[in-house]
């Protein structure tokens, strides 16, 4: 059962997941029971903005403003969120 990420969707991190910056690794990580994921720069910037309030469209707009030199990042952001959803890192809030 896989649903697709839509611009109007609002997500939060799944229950029991923690997202934090790691000084020793110089990256963001997701921590959860029995595991952890190191997020590369782009993925970290996306997950950082998943807060249970912003829509996917809000996140895209915000990242486009934050990284004006990056072209055509919308597809990357949606793919990243889709992956995160399939991995059950995210929960849909609306």
């Amino acid at each position: 059962m896989t649903t697709s990420v839509n611009p109007a969707d609002i997500y939060s991190l799944a229950r029991h997941y923690r997202f934090q910056w790691e000084e020793a690794q110089q990256c963001y990580v997701l921590l959860f029971p029995e595991g952890m994921i190191k997020l590369n720069g782009g993925a970290g910037e996306v997950i950082k903005r998943v807060d249970g309030n912003k829509t996917v469209a809000d996140i895209v707009t915000e990242l486009q403003q934050a990284f004006p030199d990056a072209t055509d990042i919308e597809a990357d952001i949606l793919a990243m969120l889709q992956l995160a959803l399939e991995k059950a890192w995210l929960e849909k809030r609306n």
């Binding site: 229950r15 020793a24 690794q25 029971p33 029995e34 952890m36």
Partner: protein, 395 residues
Amino acid sequence: MTTTGNNGVAASKTNTQPLWLLAEVTYRCPLHCAFCYNPTDYDKHTQNELTTEQWIQALRDARKMGALQLGISGGEPLLRDDIEDIVREARQLGYYSNLITSGVGLTEKRIQEFKEGGLDHIQLSMHDITEEINNFITNTKTFELKKKVAAMIKGHGYPMVLNVVIHRYNIGHIKEILEMAEALGADYVELANTQYYGWSLINRSQLMPTKEQIDHAEMITNEFRQKVGNKMKIFFVVPDYFSDRPKKCMNGWGEVFMIVTANGDVLPCHSARVLPGMAFPNVREHGLEWAWKESPAFNKYRGDDWMKEPCRSCPEKEKDLGGCRCQAFLLSGDAESADPVCTLSPNHHLIEKAIEDAKNPQLQAQPIVFRNDKNSRRIAAGEAPELVKEFHALP
């Protein structure tokens, strides 16, 4: 990258990080499980446990080195009354912390303090759906208690992580165990097939299921997984003896995993102290950074310079790093040989024999040696040759 000299001692520092820290805070335990991986001579480490301050210092030092996931284990960690302090410190330092418990000693008051202190999750061991098998294999009457504790964990909003060690006595109940886990609201279930170290190695013939039973259990697990989807994540850990290639043990010696034991020894894996001629560092004498980066013990089997044939020229050597050093030693008497689990190992017949032995009714009928202080004291003192079976195939 690590470079190692001919004697296996590192010539330069590693740049790996101990992402996982396991704190085995005590070897005392109210349960007496036949499959426990703890050292059979644990009794000698029950009188010199680290203090609260020593644990807190270890947490701080490991965190500076990049440690993120903290397991608080034992023995039964709740036998210590300072777990609340350890949990609070762990949260402040930014660990994701996990209490690994039998449930004995978990009260409303303590779980409340853990929640307030920032403990992230609790992993509860369960043994079977029947009171009979639970009480037999743990040698205690804990069945009803575990169900109560499971409800308490759930009631406090914790993710429910159940760990069920699988062996001959419960492998026929996989479906029922998974149904019980679902009914208890488990978020994660680990079906951990017994691996044979410590007490479980002594009891190997009595605990080991057949290949057919393992295959069947895995099939039932896969069916159940399809049914529940993401709601309950199920891990089925395939036992080494029934694989044809060894596991990359601990994801590599001194690569991501570090254990500090009750008495302060620093180990790269749970059972490393069985290896002969190794001097493991202790936090009373050395800092964790020295232990991880510089100590001869942590550098001994880092990388692949120590390998012999058939591992050395094996195209798969980076994939599995020759398997488990402890298993190689425990079964063949040579810690630097290929893990006998590998079909390419000259000692693979030892695994085949163990699987055959497990079908032998006479061996199965031998009494189980339960993990308890009396047995451990006798083993530590060398007074119990009848309890310590010789597995080495020495020339």
